[in-house]
C-alpha cells in the first residue's frame, strides 16, 4: 500500500506543471503504469481523488494506461507482451519468439505522468 506515497508525488508534479503553464484548472491526468510495478490502479485513483481535493486538480479525470512489457532476448530481439497476457510467475520463462533464446523484461516498472489537460 504505497499508492498514497506515489499519488502524492504525482499530485505535486501535476500542480507544479499546471502552475508553470499558468493553468487555472486541471481537467485530466494521464498516467502510464508499468505492469511490473506493484501499484494498484484502483487504490492510486482513490488516493489521487482525495489528494486533489481543494486544489485546481479537484475532479480531474484520471486515465491510467497500463503499458505492455518488453522482453529482450540474449540476441537483442524484442518481444512485446500485452498486459492482459502477462503471467508474472513465468515471465522469465518466455522464450524469444524469433530465436528461442532466453528473454528478460526490460522496463515495465515505471509510473509515468504522461500529460495533463489544463484550462
Amino acid at each position: 500500500m504505497h499508492e498514497f506515497f506515489v499519488a502524492s508525488g504525482i499530485m505535486e508534479t501535476v500542480l507544479e506543471e499546471a502552475k508553470k503553464h499558468g493553468a487555472g484548472k486541471v481537467s485530466k491526468i494521464v498516467l502510464e503504469i508499468g505492469p511490473l510495478s506493484m501499484i494498484s490502479v484502483e487504490q492510486l485513483e482513490f488516493a489521487l481523488d482525495i489528494l486533489s481535493e481543494g486544489t485546481i486538480a479537484c475532479g480531474a479525470a484520471i486515465e491510467c494506461r497500463i503499458t505492455p512489457v518488453t522482453l529482450k532476448c540474449e540476441n537483442n530481439h524484442v518481444n512485446v507482451v500485452a498486459p492482459a497476457k502477462l503471467d508474472f510467475f513465468s515471465l522469465t520463462r518466455i522464450p524469444c519468439p524469433a530465436c528461442g533464446a532466453k528473454t528478460r523484461p526490460v522496463g515495465g516498472r515505471d509510473c509515468m505522468i504522461k500529460e495533463i489537460s489544463a484550462e
Binding site: 504505497h2 513465468s90 509515468m112 500529460e115 495533463i116
Partner: protein, 221 residues
C-alpha cells in the same frame, strides 16, 4: 483547454538517490544488503545469526520499522553500529531514508551493511535502495504458496532464503516446492534453505555473503 506533456517518472527521484547510494557503497568498499521479507519471516534473527558467522567482518545495520525501535534495539545488543529508521505510515524503506541514515555511519570502517526493510513482500519491490544485493527471506510458516504468490519480489532479488525449515512438517509446508518456485520465477536466483534454531544452512548463506564482500573489495582494488 490544452494538453501539457509532462513525461516524468514518479520513481525517478528514488532511482537517482539509489544510484547515489550505490556509488557511495562501492566507493567506501561496503557491501550493502537489502533484507526484504514478511513480518515474522526472520529478518532480524537472520542478521543476528549472520553476525555470529561473519567473524572478522565489520558489520553495521539499518533497521526499518513502521513506528517502533524494537528491531534496532535488538541489533544494538550485538555491539554493532545500528541506525533505526521509522517510516511512519509507509510500508517500505526508500533510497532517501537510507541515504539519510548513512550520515550516522562511518562507512570507511565497515565491510557489510545489513538493511532490514519493513515487513512486506509487495511495496519494497518498487523502491531500489541502492544496495548491491537484494535478499528476500520467506519462512515456511507463511505457507508454501507464498513464493508463487509474490513473483515480483523474487524476480527482483539476488538471493532467496527459505527459513524455519525445521518446522516445515508441523505447518504442512513443502520447503522444496518454495525453492523450486523461486528458481522458476528467477533462474539466476541463489536459494538457501535455513533454520536459525537448528543452525542449518546459515554457514552457506554467510559464505555467499563473505564471497560477495571479497569480490567487491577486489573490484575496488
Amino acid at each position: 483547454m490544452h494538453v501539457i506533456g509532462v513525461g516524468r517518472d514518479v520513481f525517478e527521484i528514488n532511482k537517482k538517490i539509489a544510484e547515489r547510494n550505490r556509488r557511495t557503497f562501492d566507493e567506501s568498499g561496503v557491501l550493502a544488503i537489502n533484507f526484504m521479507g514478511a513480518v515474522g519471516s526472520g529478518k532480524t534473527a537472520m542478521i543476528e545469526a549472520l553476525h555470529k558467522k561473519l567473524k572478522g567482518c565489520r558489520i553495521a545495520a539499518i533497521a526499518g520499522d513502521i513506528v517502533s525501535d524494537l528491531d534496532a534495539n535488538r541489533l544494538k545488543k550485538l555491539g554493532i553500529p545500528v541506525v533505526g529508521v521509522n517510516t511512519g505510515k509507509e510500508c517500505h524503506l526508500d533510497a532517501h531514508l537510507v541515504e539519510h541514515a548513512l550520515d550516522d555511519f562511518n562507512l570507511k570502517d565497515l565491510d557489510i551493511l545489513f538493511i532490514e526493510n519493513v515487513g512486506n513482500l509487495i511495496c519494497p519491490v518498487d523502491f531500489d535502495l541502492g544496495t548491491q544485493l537484494n535478499v528476500t527471506i520467506v519462512s515456511v510458516s507463511e505457507g508454501d504458496d507464498t513464493v508463487e504468490k509474490h513473483p515480483m519480489i523474487f524476480a527482483s532479488s539476488d538471493a532467496a532464503v527459505i527459513n524455519k525449515i525445521d518446522i516445515a512438517e508441523a505447518v504442512d509446508a513443502d520447503a522444496d516446492k518454495m525453492r523450486k518456485d523461486a528458481l522458476h520465477i528467477n533462474p539466476g536466483l541463489k536459494v538457501f534453505l535455513t533454520s536459525i534454531r537448528k543452525d542449518n544452512g546459515i554457514d552457506d548463506f554467510a559464505d555467499w555473503i563473505r564471497n560477495k564482500k571479497d569480490e567487491g573489495k577486489r573490484r575496488k582494488g
